[in-house]
């Protein structure tokens, strides 16, 4: 059986992801189209939230992916720190813009939902605040990669930033449980049947979550390939300059 570390070879990574990428992309489009059409057109209004319950199909998956993207970046950064595989550092770099877009969607849809339901666009609630800080960490992470010319130094420093920021990724997930206060309700998805959303909303929500996960994987594969090629190009141009 092939070792996971074989994929740390840039060529092997590109060859493998080239084969997988079309399938993951098709799955992403199918799941997103099915889940969003099902949720938007074929689910009833909630007895308390009215039609704003339809925002759940965008808000919950994007918030989940915003947190999980950072966790993925944390794992990739730790692999870079321990084993110095360039592909892992570049995968973390590739995931950051995807994560930041997911965070913006979660914050925007949350604010749009909050205005009619809570009577305010924003509250300094533990979950909302930790999510905003996570968004700022994303921006800082991307800016740090862009600011440092040497790829290895950038990977080292961004890995440290990612480890620090993971505190806020976890806080934004568990803030409701830690503080048990604020406007934000508990998790929409739970193993406890009492806390979980009703089945009529639950199944289209699961399909939307699957769509967001596949979209994230497809984008990270595509963007990591791009980062690998960009890094090779920088290395070749630098070698040419030295030889000239």
């Amino acid at each position: 059986m092939a070792s996971l570390w074989e994929y740390a070879n840039p060529k092997k990574f590109i060859d493998t992801t080239d084969k997988v990428l079309p399938w993951v992309s098709v799955l992403a489009v199918l799941c997103l189209a099915t889940g969003l059409i099902w949720g938007f057109f074929f689910t009833p209004d909630d007895f308390r939230q009215g039609s704003t319950v339809k925002i759940i199909y965008l808000h919950v998956p994007s918030a989940l992916m915003a947190i999980n993207a950072w966790i993925m970046m944390l794992v990739a950064s730790l692999i870079w720190v321990v084993r110095r595989h360039h592909v892992s550092a570049l995968a973390a770099r590739a995931a950051a813009p995807v994560g930041v877009v997911m965070t913006v969607i979660a914050l925007a849809t949350g604010a749009i939902w909050g205005q009619p339901m809570w009577g305010t666009w924003w509250a300094w609630d533990p979950r909302l605040t930790s999510f905003l800080i996570l968004f700022l960490f994303y921006l800082g992470y991307i800016a740090l990669w862009e600011a440092i010319e040497n790829d290895d130094t950038a990977a080292d420093l961004t890995s440290i930033l990612c480890i620090v920021g993971s505190v806020f990724a976890l806080l934004s997930r568990y803030a409701v449980l830690f503080w048990n206060q604020g406007l934000h309700q508990g998790a929409s998805l739970s193993l406890d049947k009492e806390e979980n959303v009703a089945d009529v909303f639950y199944f289209p929500l699961l399909v939307c979550i699957a769509g967001f996960v596949f979209l994230f994987i497809a984008l990270v594969f595509l963007r990591t390939q791009t980062e690998i090629r960009a890094r090779r190009m920088r290395a070749l141009l630098a070698r040419d300059r030295m030889e000239a």
Binding site: K54, L219, R229
Partner: protein
């Protein structure tokens, strides 16, 4: 179109914002991928012809 009632603006703007952001992310990622792939090919071709 489902009946969205008084919350139509909130629901539709949520979908509009999210879909625009997701499509922009996909298009930007795809275009950059094509651009970098072609640029790398050019650099490699040039190096091969120089060698």
């Amino acid at each position: 179109m489902p009946e969205l009632g008084k919350y139509a603006e909130a629901v539709l703007s949520s979908y509009a914002v999210s879909l625009v952001l997701l499509i922009a992310l996909v298009v930007f990622s795809w275009r950059r991928s094509v651009r970098v792939k072609n640029a790398l090919k050019d650099v490699e071709r040039k190096r091969k012809s120089d060698a």
